[in-house]
Symmetry: C2
Subunit: 229 residues, 2 copies
DNA sequence: ATCTTTTGTCGTCAGTTGACGACTTATTTT
DNA sequence: AAAATAAGTCGTCAACTGACGACAAAAGAT
């Protein structure tokens, strides 16, 4: 009983070992835990327990506390990575490239956005933590999205030669019309067990078409209907 | 110490008594608990504990178990009332009243819908239970909303003389364009601590305008672009 | 007034859950 | 090979949480 069942004695298998428990260097194990934890908490919420999480990681519960002083520290880091991580810096630049028609830019952007941000993992974690009042970092997210909305609205208005209302909040709301539908589509997809028969890319395409085509009508009579530009 | 502090002896005060603990008839107490529980669970999720709930009700924890055999029974009834309760039967009829322009019908409908269904209580409870996989009664809700979507899409198509795609799922997706934005607006309002400076009614108004104005462009090229009707 | 029923609380029990001290085992250093 | 360091587990503790038996007291019935 002292020897390994197979008796194999791998001397230089630095990384992973077959039998028994795997032993990883600190940084790798930490990474592995954070990744599993993101998956786990996005499924069960930030109130998910440490024991099931450890089981999902294939380690003992105690080991979690060798990497994080307490559960809050773990969830905080998971949140920061999963929620704030996937936002790309190139989006603003791509959206303002007036060489291309705005509908095309928007379709491209939202397809990318849906693929990288509006994933099951991101969405569920975001909703879980939004519901729990202790918002982890909503301001940062909010400011990023606000900037995107402003840009989108301005780009469409520029292409269609539409005069936007002065009120900033109102301009944001115009942008939310499109951003909201796309976000809500993701919610349907990842929360309600929707049929999923229409491909995401198609849905985004006609959300954009609808938005662009209805933009002028939407703005007129919205707030500052001062035609002039 | 035997007598009440004031010494008052109200003989016929059937309902409520001032000092000490209030004593309610069974049905009333039950109602009161269910109402408080709806508020409580919508704030803290269905995993909220029975002791804080009892405290919010102003009763002992034990008393909850005089009305419900276990916590699951309580949450189930709260869910049924809060989520399934507020849907109105008149909506379908009102939406199909072709005497009035469809934009007007839609605006009226969504204002009512936002006021009665998309409340903080409803939305949070709905999201909490959607996130927890054990969907309480999603089928019933889904079928109601599906019917609304079909009606809305048909009404707009009829007014604009647009030919709808054959694919039912695709037709639903068209309706989700509007339903999604309005729903997402409610999410922003009740989950993210949004600024709230633009009145809900205004937002709904231009969501509807955008949808109606962009409808034709959205449908064309969506799926079955067979012009003919 | 006395008895009965109904409404309500106290205290407690078993199973969880976050946290951590003490110990074991593998890898690296000397 | 021995010592030192790093990776990992076992077992346990205190606080929490759903559930419930036993008891207290108010309201109604006789």
């Amino acid at each position: 009983m002292k020897a390994k069942s197979t008796g194999l004695k791998i001397t230089k298998a630095k990384k992973f070992r077959v039998g028994g428990r795997t032993r990883l260097p600190r940084a790798e194990r930490r990474e592995m835990i954070l990744n599993q934890a993101a998956e786990f908490f996005s499924e069960y919420g930030l109130t998910g327990q440490t024991r099931p999480l450890a089981a999902a990681c294939g380690i003992s519960q105690r080991l979690l506390y060798r990497f994080f002083p307490n559960k809050a520290a773990l969830t905080a880091e998971v949140y920061a990575r999963t929620i704030l991580g996937p936002f790309k810096g190139t989006w603003l630049a791509d959206l303002t490239d007036r060489e291309r028609p705005v509908a095309e830019r928007l379709t491209d952007f939202y397809r990318d956005y849906a693929e990288t941000v509006l994933t099951r993992r991101w969405l569920r974690l975001f909703l879980y933590s939004s519901l729990a009042e202790g918002d982890m970092a909503p301001n940062y997210i909010a400011s990023i999205i606000t900037r995107l909305l402003e840009t989108i609205v301005e780009e469409v208005a520029a292409e269609q030669d539409v005069c936007l209302p002065e009120d900033v909040a109102l301009r944001h709301e115009l942008g939310w019309t499109l951003h909201g539908t796309v976000s809500h589509m993701a919610i349907r997809k990842h929360l309600y067990h929707a049929s999923q028969s229409v491909p995401t890319d198609d849905i985004i395409a006609f959300h954009v078409r609808s938005f662009v085509a209805g933009f002028k009508a939407m703005v007129e009579g919205a707030g500052n209907p001062r035609p002039g530009s």
